[in-house]
């Protein structure tokens, strides 16, 4: 069996693949956080809860109404997006002019409430969700086995990430978002309905989280607390990429997943801390993050 650095190629590429998958989730989640932070200037601690809602809805909609995976991929983000718009309109908007610590506490509290209520209903043991029929099995690439569903997760996440990047950087709507991020008061004076833009942006950001949740449902254990576990890592990713940077969130998300995967091969004990180590190093060298603008 061929080896690289004394490690079998199959093991190495297997961990790389797992790393890419995790990276795809980090990218989707940190992208949503970056979009929200850019315009609303709030640190959305509910993000993990919305990710979990996406996954949980996928399972619950299937178990109760028989909603299939493809429908869920569309329905769950939509429902969660609407919930997000309502949260922005009825809660976040009321404290928009207060210190940002208020919105941080509010979203954190909201996440605890959502997780607590759902834990009460569904418990903390993982719920299972079958991989959709078309994605069962996989392909042997010679050096490794690639399950179809994992390949789909990476492709879907990349398409959504770069679609989002394109919309923000290259379209008219995106120019509203970029300009609103810089100076929302002037945008308002130009006749642009900034409050509406803010609601929709928050809704869109949490939609991305829910989309990641649906993708996660067949491969991760679905529990009401699954979002809390991943959120801290995602925050580290956002900090490394640079607060509010769209491309930074995407690239850093994928890269951190891969770094985590590689660490599992060479020094498994450090796998869960390596991202935070990178964060510390990046903050020491580039305090605004890899893609952030220096103030």
């Amino acid at each position: 069996m061929s080896m690289i650095f004394g490690v079998p190629v199959a093991v190495l590429s297997g961990q790389l693949l797992l790393g890419l998958i995790n990276g795809a989730f980090y990218a989707l989640l940190s992208l949503g956080l970056a979009v929200i932070f850019g315009l609303l200037k709030i640190i959305n601690f509910s993000h993990g809860a919305f990710y979990m809602l996406g996954a949980l809805l996928t399972v619950v909609l299937f178990n109760t109404l028989g909603v299939n995976y493809w429908m869920a991929l569309f329905l769950a983000p939509l429902i969660v997006g609407i919930v997000g718009v309502l949260v922005e309109y009825f809660l976040l908007r009321k404290i928009a002019n207060e210190d940002h610590i208020y919105s941080l506490l509010l979203t954190f509290g909201l996440a605890l409430v959502i997780q607590g209520v759902l834990t009460n209903i569904y418990g903390v043991s993982g719920m299972r969700y079958a991989i959709p029929e078309v994605f069962r099995g996989g392909v042997n690439l010679g050096f490794m086995f690639l399950p179809y569903y994992r390949a789909w997760v990476i492709v879907a996440a990349l398409v959504v990430c770069f679609g989002t990047w394109f919309m923000i950087e290259k379209t008219k709507l995106g120019s509203y978002l970029r300009a609103g991020t810089e100076n929302s008061k002037l945008m308002q004076a130009f006749g642009i309905n900034v409050p509406l833009l803010v609601s929709l942006t928050y809704g869109f950001g949490v939609m991305l989280a829910a989309f990641a949740g649906v993708l996660a449902a067949p491969i991760y254990s679905v529990t009401p607390v699954m979002g809390a576990n991943i959120l801290i890592i995602v925050f580290a990713v956002v900090v490394i990429g640079g607060m509010g940077s769209i491309i930074g969130a995407i690239v850093t998300g994928l890269a951190m997943g891969v770094i985590e995967g590689l660490t599992k091969v060479f020094y498994p004990e450090a796998a869960s801390t390596v991202i935070f180590l990178v964060m510390v190093l990046v903050l020491l060298v580039k305090p605004a993050g890899l893609f952030g603008k220096e103030a």
Binding site: R178, A189, G191
Partner: protein, 240 residues
């Protein structure tokens, strides 16, 4: 004859306008009237409340009381993003060019508010520099070019009431001259303009009337024809 083309049509009327930033009371009862096609200046020292008057019209200050009629509509209670749609174009003192947008994106950003705005090629004809640099990042332009961009941006929207805050500040004389030419053209087109200006020599030949502000109030209204007679008063208030 519709209201909009009647001579002496009151395009903007402020009555007893007070404005507040938090606890501080900035404007103390402004009364002001601007008719269609007029160019009116707000003169005064820094901190006299001239910029705040423009911001209050745009609903960009904390709290306002009194009355602001734009094209015959009371706007004191309406949200900020509805004001531009009444045909108002605002050019802020800091110019407000967006760094994350290129020149053309900056130009196309404000939504059209009336149908007879200038077309993009007309704008590029008026400001050839902007055409040459249309794909540059907005804030890479020189100060003068940024000012042109900030003006051009609201001309495209079709706004017929322009609120211009310190547009000549910090600019080279040749640019100031160009801005004067632009303002004369806009006046010929029949646009109504309120100019907050520090540079009295720039404003004096262009304006029909001047409002002199001090401590958040209007202390004197001077017609262009009375300028020489009231020169001494002006000097006292402007400290020149």
């Amino acid at each position: 004859m519709t209201d909009a083309i009647k001579p002496n049509y009151e395009q903007l009327k402020l009555t007893d306008l007070h404005a507040f930033y938090g606890e501080s009371h900035i404007l103390h009862g402004i009364d002001l009237l601007v008719r269609r096609g007029e160019l009116v200046t707000l003169l005064g020292r820094n901190g006299a409340g001239r910029s705040t008057t423009l911001k209050a019209i745009m609903n960009m200050v904390g709290r306002r009381t009194g009355s602001i009629m734009i094209n015959g509509r009371e706007t004191i209670g309406i949200p900020a993003h509805h004001i531009a749609r009444l045909g108002v174009g605002y050019c802020p003192e800091e110019r407000g060019i967006f760094a994350s947008l290129n020149v053309e994106e900056n130009l196309l950003l404000p939504p059209t508010v009336r149908s007879d705005g200038m077309a993009l090629d007309e704008i590029y004809e008026m400001f050839p520099n902007l055409y040459e640099r249309r794909f540059s990042q907005g804030t890479r332009l020189s100060g003068g070019e940024q000012q042109m961009l900030a003006m051009a941006r609201i001309l495209r929207t079709g706004a017929n009431l322009l609120l211009l805050d310190e547009i000549t500040e910090g600019l080279a004389p040749v640019i100031v001259q160009k801005l004067a030419e632009v303002l004369i053209k806009l006046k010929e087109k029949g646009l109504t303009i309120i100019l907050v200006e520090q540079n009295f020599r720039f404003a004096a030949p262009l304006a029909d009337r001047h409002y002199l502000m001090e401590h958040g109030q209007i202390v004197e209204e001077i017609d262009a024809s009375e300028l020489s007679a009231k020169q001494e008063l002006l000097n006292t208030y402007l400290g020149v």
